[in-house]
Amino acid sequence: MEMTGAVLALIGSIIFFLSALGLIRMPDLYNRIQTGTKATTLGTIILSIGLCLIHPEWTGKLVILILFIVLTNPISSHVVARGAHYSGQEMTDKTVGDALTEEDKDKEGTP
């Protein structure tokens, strides 16, 4: 049981390392948010499950921690992405379309 938990924790930390690499390699803010959010969420879930296996009496609090992360992490990345858009953060050159800017322009054009 302890071994399984430890291996799960190790997998979680490797996923964390992926998110760190993603933050370094991705070309613009939005892509960085993407890799950061997904990888840390799954990493925390797996690591917490691993610790639940090692310490079954901690399960209650760790489940609360998991639910908290799953609820708040997407919300905070959504708010950061929205803030980036409205503060005029530029997207990478490879971007092929931006429906949100067009939508805002339409609103301004027809008041």
Partner: protein
């Protein structure tokens, strides 16, 4: 509607309280009842859970959503991994508009969070029925195509649970 919110809020609050305290004893129970009642009053004021459906069908849909969600989360991490460790960064990003049929706030929150945690998509803004999604590998930039690719897999179940 108020009754429903109060009921769900009290059950959720008590689970939360006992999960935090980690033990069952009189003191925890007494203080828990007082505190959870206050917390439920705040939930009732905003009618957070007013539209959640109670039926066996909704329960099955909720489980189905959970299964799809966990599957997509794992898939999205494999996707991130492949993108990060491939020597050349392969991206084709765009912000696309998709439409949702969900009307209730909680359902839309669940949908947006699910979208953020699925492969290559990030909810950037929400205006009325339109969600604006940053898509790391945009295969179609028109509304119908994007809606089918991003929203459809969650919307069916969430519509049953949250309406």
């Amino acid at each position: 509607m108020k009754m429903k919110t109060a009921l769900i809020s009290v059950v959720l609050g008590l689970l939360f309280w006992f999960g935090l305290n980690g033990r069952l004893e009189t003191g925890v129970l007494i203080s828990g009842i007082v505190v959870v009642a206050i917390a439920a009053a705040f939930h009732v004021k905003d009618a957070v859970f007013g539209d959640v459906k109670f039926s066996p069908r909704a329960f099955i849909a909720f489980i189905a959503w959970l299964v799809v969600f966990v599957g997509e989360l794992i898939k999205s991490n494999i996707d991130v991994m492949l993108r990060v460790i491939s020597p050349k960064v392969r991206i084709n990003p765009a912000i696309v508009e998709v439409k949702t049929k969900l009307k209730t706030p909680l359902g839309r929150l669940a949908l947006a969070n699910s979208i953020t945690l699925t492969p290559g998509t990030l909810t950037t803004d929400i205006k009325g029925d339109s969600l604006f999604i940053h898509w790391i590998d945009a295969s179609s930039t028109d509304v119908e195509g994007a809606t089918k690719a991003i929203v459809a897999k969650f919307e069916k179940q969430l519509e049953v649970v949250f309406g």
